[in-house]
């Protein structure tokens, strides 16, 4: 049964597109036929992070308007055989992203793909709503700070009330909390919310914690999803997330400030 997974957060800059790129790559590396769709019409970024921006000819709006077929618009990822990218339009209006048109595309993709990852734009407006509407599962990307948690809470409320599953009274969208840009040192110093603090507010299951790392920026700039980085805690934590998503029981890393405080005592800081 193909799965539609939305990567969303409400707030911008928390790591949705980074997560979409790494998560979809991770799913593909594990043999799932995966497509990742950029819903950020007007501000497309996913193709840059996936390193396929020079191969974008057609986009999701062309497909919705029936100007090209899905096959023409899908771009094959250069790292993974099983991964395709459906880019957003840089020039079109976001209102062109009709709910009905998106539904048609998702139905067609379900015929070929196992996992359909929807990279949501920031905010709670049309683009974000189209990205989440058809979701079966949701990765809620949250930074350890109050405003990000608040926005994630808002998004969870919308998912629970307005998604297709909610409006049709089907089983609710399965929610996963993904904490990104987590700095255990700053959590220990009381400068950041801990994972426990975040979970206390959002009360959804934790799928992973991605540590704050400079390598994410380097990966973005070089057009390589962070999961492909060698010897990187970010890559490892994204692989853990994918493994947990596939149902494996992988112990959580970087979850509590206390744990890191202990490590810090032993190794004398990072």
């Amino acid at each position: 049964m193909p799965k539609v997974i939305v990567v969303t957060s409400g707030k911008g800059g928390v790591g949705k597109t980074t997560t979409s790129a790494s998560f979809s790559s991770g799913l593909a590396l594990r043999g799932n036929k995966t497509v990742v769709i950029d819903f950020d019409v007007g501000l497309r970024n996913l193709d840059l992070i996936m390193g396929c921006e020079r191969r974008v000819v057609y986009d999701i709006i062309n497909v919705i308007n029936g100007e090209v077929t899905l096959k023409q618009a899908l771009i094959k990822d250069k790292q993974c055989d099983n991964l395709y990218v459906l880019p957003a339009s840089q020039t079109r209006d976001k209102d062109a992203l009709s709910l009905e048109g998106v539904g048609r595309i998702i139905d067609e993709l379900k015929e070929t793909f196992d996992c359909i990852v929807c990279d949501s734009p920031a905010g709670i407006e049309h683009g974000a709503f189209s990205a989440m509407y058809y979701a079966d599962e949701a990765l809620i990307v949250t930074n350890p700070e109050v405003s990000s948690v608040r926005d994630s809470d808002r998004i969870l409320g919308i998912l629970a009330a307005k998604s297709k599953r909610a409006t049709e009274g089907a089983e609710p969208v399965k929610e996963h909390l993904l904490v990104t840009r987590y700095d255990p040192k700053r959590v220990a110093a009381g400068e950041m919310l801990s994972v426990d603090d975040i979970q206390e507010i959002l009360r959804i299951p934790l799928i992973g914690v991605i540590p704050e790392s400079e390598s994410v920026l380097q990966a973005s700039n070089s057009g390589t999803p962070a999961i492909h980085l060698e010897k990187s805690d970010v890559a490892e934590s994204y692989r853990d997330v994918v493994a947990r998503f596939m149902g494996e029981d992988v112990p959580m890393r970087f979850t509590t400030a206390e744990k890191v405080g202990l490590l810090k005592r032993i190794f004398g800081g990072r």
Binding site: I124, R150, D151, D153, R154, L156, G157, I158, A160, A161, I201, R203
Partner: protein, 275 residues
């Protein structure tokens, strides 16, 4: 949304009394004839069937069904009622002359209920209001000619919680608003900051309340809020609200609290120290 009125400054002098609005159940004895002899005879029969039916309960005499020129003999009727443990509290309806005659006999005049007294969402200031009759699911009476005992229709007091309690068992999140119209509200999951609970009746939250809770939204000043862990941004009863700009006092934060209205002031009380 109820109008938000800030708590007035407390008066300097210790009050010796307070006036409160209340909706109390009361029976209305609608007179269909001014012939008190007939009324007394039929009442006598009725009271023999159920001698304790009135049992010192206040009764209002309804005059609306009387011919406007008819004038019942109030003192005679009152004597009869007193001797049968019926307390006539006043009259409602009828002509000015009939109402005057009633006041001469020592009865109060209860103003007629407007068609929809609180249809406006703006709650009236709950001061110096007159006690109004209120629906009461009283026993159904067998029909007797010339006399009718009935209760007022439910629409007379829409501040009542006439609908089944609304129960929410999932987290109430930022930006969500739950409105229990004409009902009490029970929430079993967390209410996060930026979420809003509104009920015309009481609100019970068996989880932390971090957002807002507004009870008695249509002006029911007797409404209360019970919260298992008090962390609210704002609480309100009947339009009177309290914010916690400076944070919640240590004595209340995270505690099981009761919130109610007392002399137009929202009072938040930790339940362990309440009694």
């Amino acid at each position: 949304m109820p109008k938000r009125t800030a708590n007035p400054a407390p008066s300097r002098e210790e009050p010796a009394f307070k006036i409160k609005n209340a909706n109390l159940p009361v029976l209305i004895l609608h007179l269909k004839t001014a012939d008190t002899a007939r009324v007394k005879a039929q009442l006598e029969t009725r009271l023999q069937q159920m001698p304790d039916f009135f049992a010192h309960a206040p009764v209002v005499l309804g005059l609306a069904d009387l011919p406007t020129d008819a004038e019942p003999d109030f003192p005679d009727l009152l004597d009869f009622m007193r001797s049968h443990h019926m307390q006539a509290a006043g009259v409602i309806g009828g002509s000015a002359a009939q109402q005057f005659a009633a006041t001469q006999a020592g009865l109060g005049v209860i103003p007629e209920i407007p068609a929809r007294p609180t249809a406006s969402p703006e709650p009236e200031p709950p001061v110096e209001s007159v006690v109004e009759p209120q629906p009461d699911p009283g026993p159904v009476q067998p029909e007797l000619p010339g006399l009718e005992v009935e209760t007022e229709p439910a629409e007379a007091a829409p501040t009542l919680t006439s609908r089944p309690t609304m129960v929410i068992d999932k987290p109430v999140r930022t930006g969500q608003r739950i409105y229990a119209e004409g009902a009490n509200l029970v929430v079993l999951a967390i209410v996060n900051a930026g979420a809003e609970l509104i009920a015309d009746g009481d609100i019970h939250i068996y989880a932390p309340l971090r957002g807002r809770a507004l009870a008695g939204a249509r002006g029911n000043t007797a409404a209360r809020i019970y919260v298992q862990s008090m962390e609210a941004e704002l609480v309100a009863i009947a339009g009177y609200f309290q914010v916690f700009d400076e944070g919640i006092p240590d004595a209340l934060r995270g505690k099981f609290c009761q919130i109610r209205l007392e002399s137009e002031k929202v009072v938040t009380q930790a339940m362990n120290s309440a009694r």
